[in-house]
């Protein structure tokens, strides 16, 4: 409760500063609108079906990307985590691809795939893969040898140990990876939309209103929506993690 109060104070302070800066006359209000103006616009926008459709388009692409990234990264992580030989063989390739900033691939993807939803989804999947992949591998590396020994002593084979010991043990780690990837993929979906790699979505909408007569109040309203989606998803996933994997935190402390 206290941390929630502190969080609220922080947010209120930021909004107040923003409001004051907006009125201070550093820049014309159409270029740097105060927060009250942005929220007023946002209120109007949320009442329009068109804007809600853009939000849904972004959220949908983001959720699909996150699901795909998880579906690819977890099995891949289990494979690389259980066969060190495979990991060594792919290490150089992985370390070569991983540092590539996904945003740098936007022009290439637009040329290759076009500007449909699959473009932003592909890029978001690419960016979201790594945290989930590396957390899965890490979880297998960190698997308590006694768990394996115990399972073996009860006659479990390699596959059964993977399914009934290694995977349940890795789930909290994997979930943390998903949480990190959730914000990465949201950023990437909106980035692609903003760079013209889409025909719908908040980013695409923001691109539209930022051209011509610069309606920064509208652009910022879009930004606030993106921020709120990110915030809600993180809180939601945190809550889910506590509910599902409470055993992990407490069990770790009890050690």
């Amino acid at each position: 409760m206290r941390s929630a109060l502190r969080g609220a104070i922080g947010v209120a302070g930021f909004l107040l500063l923003w409001e004051a800066a907006g009125h201070a006359g550093f820049a014309p209000q159409n270029l740097f609108p105060p927060v009250s103006m942005v929220f007023a616009r946002l209120g109007e926008l949320l009442a329009t079906e068109e804007f809600l459709r853009e939000i849904i388009a972004t959220v949908l692409a983001w959720l699909i990307a996150l699901a795909l990234a998880t579906g690819i990264a977890v099995p891949l992580g289990l494979l690389l985590g259980s066969y060190p030989a495979v990991r060594r063989a792919t290490k150089v390739l992985v370390e070569f691809i991983r540092p590539v900033p996904p945003v740098a691939l936007i022009p290439l993807l637009i040329v290759l795939i076009g500007n449909g939803p699959e473009t932003k989804i592909s890029l978001a999947v690419f960016g979201a893969l790594w945290p989930i992949l590396f957390n899965t591998i890490y979880a297998l590396d960190e698997l308590e040898p006694m768990y394996v020994e115990t399972a073996r002593s009860f006659g479990l084979g390699r596959g059964a140990i993977m399914a009934r010991v290694a995977l349940p043990n890795a789930l909290p780690f994997i979930f943390t990876g998903v949480r990190i990837s959730a914000s990465i993929s949201l950023i990437l979906v909106i980035s692609v939309e903003l760079r013209g790699g889409g025909t719908a979505g908040i980013g695409y909408w923001m691109l539209g209103v930022s051209q011509g007569i610069r309606q920064m109040d509208l652009v910022l309203a879009g930004t606030v929506v993106a921020g709120v989606i990110g915030l809600l998803s993180n809180y939601g996933l945190e809550w889910l993690q506590r509910r599902l994997f409470g055993w992990n935190e407490i069990a770790q402390e009890a050690r």
């Binding site: 006694m146 768990y147 020994e149 009860f154 006659g155 349940p168 055993w247 407490i250 069990a251 050690r255």
Partner: protein, 324 residues
């Protein structure tokens, strides 16, 4: 009595060449059905290597292990292990009941039977009501009882215990020792328990096997001539207990044994009395010496002193305990 376990000429060497380390060598003994045999040896003597070989967790470099007459290759289904480190051998993501059901699930026991057997096993160890809790909500002693219940739920022909009470406080250890004695009596279980605690080996065992320093061999085999129902206070102060524990201590820490048995015919035939002259030995057909502790000999050294240092802190309920 039928033979449950037969270990013959077991040896295990780790590595090869200059860095090779022989943990056990020429180790032979048997365990009869319904018997509780304790193996006691100096720390780092290869007890775990021996136990892992019996459990089929690794293949020994020489010799064989037979369980009910069949050579062990791979993990035998008819065997269950209780490890020392309960906190790392119970799965934190499973409830107590699911932990107990864990081995049954992979053996294809139907859900109904699993639930019944798990409840029954938890009842045996006095945790009938803890099924829905998680292991980390229990004290160390209770966690180890869950491990014991999990092993018993498998209804193993042989229960292997690897220093099962070494990580709990002294008070809990006594409780668990008595629990083990009660349960094995009720179930007529065959138990092979490895420990480094001399008192424990004598208190629990029908028979104590003493191992040497590595490469470990069986130095002596001592039948424990104590009444089947034992008591933490009266048994431990009885003359028979005190003299037996002294014999074990002498064999373990005292002088080197007169000869290393089971190494060759010459060694087998040699030496009936160790250097201290306290132990009467006789050669058995298997090449091990059966040591009979002389009775009526009082030797209290160490036997009672230990009790003074016991912690009597009792942990109950949802305290979480860290293993030593």
């Amino acid at each position: 009595m039928t033979t449950m376990l037969e270990v013959s000429d077991l040896g295990h060497t780790y590595g090869s060449g200059d860095t090779a380390y022989t943990a056990i060598s020429g180790l032979s003994f048997t365990v009869d059905t319904g018997e509780l045999t304790c193996i006691v040896g100096p720390s780092g003597c290869g007890k775990s290597t021996l136990l892992r070989a019996i459990a089929g967790l690794h293949t020994p470099t020489s010799g064989t292990v037979r369980l009910k007459g069949e050579t062990v290759a791979g993990v035998p289904e008819d065997l269950a292990v209780v490890f020392q480190d309960y906190s790392r051998s119970l799965f934190p993501w499973l409830t107590v009941r699911d932990n107990v059901e864990f081995p049954l699930r992979s053996r294809g026991v139907p859900a109904e039977d699993r639930a019944r057997r798990a409840a029954e096993a938890l009842e045996w160890v006095g945790l009938g009501k803890a099924g829905k809790k998680y292991p980390w909500q229990l004290s160390g002693g209770m966690q180890q009882r869950v491990s014991i219940a999990r092993a018993l739920a498998c209804r193993p022909s042989l229960l292997l215990m690897d220093e099962p009470f070494a990580s709990v406080d002294a008070q809990t250890r006594f409780e668990l020792e008595d629990l083990l004695l009660r349960v094995r009596r009720e179930l007529n279980a065959t138990v092979l328990l490895v420990t480094h605690d001399i008192d424990e080996s004598v208190y629990l065992g029908d028979r104590v096997l003493v191992l040497s320093k590595p490469p470990a061999t069986v130095v002596a085999e001592l039948p424990v001539d104590l009444p089947p129902v034992r008591d933490q206070i009266t048994t431990r102060e009885s003359d028979a207990f005190v003299s037996l524990r002294s014999e074990v201590a002498r064999l373990l820490h005292g002088k080197e044994p007169a000869a290393t048995p089971a190494r060759g015919a010459a060694a087998r035939a040699a030496g009936a009395v160790d250097q201290g002259g306290h132990v009467a030995e006789s050669s058995t057909p298997k090449g091990q010496r059966t040591v009979t502790a002389p009775k009526n000999r009082r030797n209290g050294a160490g036997g009672k002193g230990r009790k003074k240092h016991m912690k009597t802190k009792k942990k109950r309920g949802v305290t979480v305990q860290r293993p030593r």
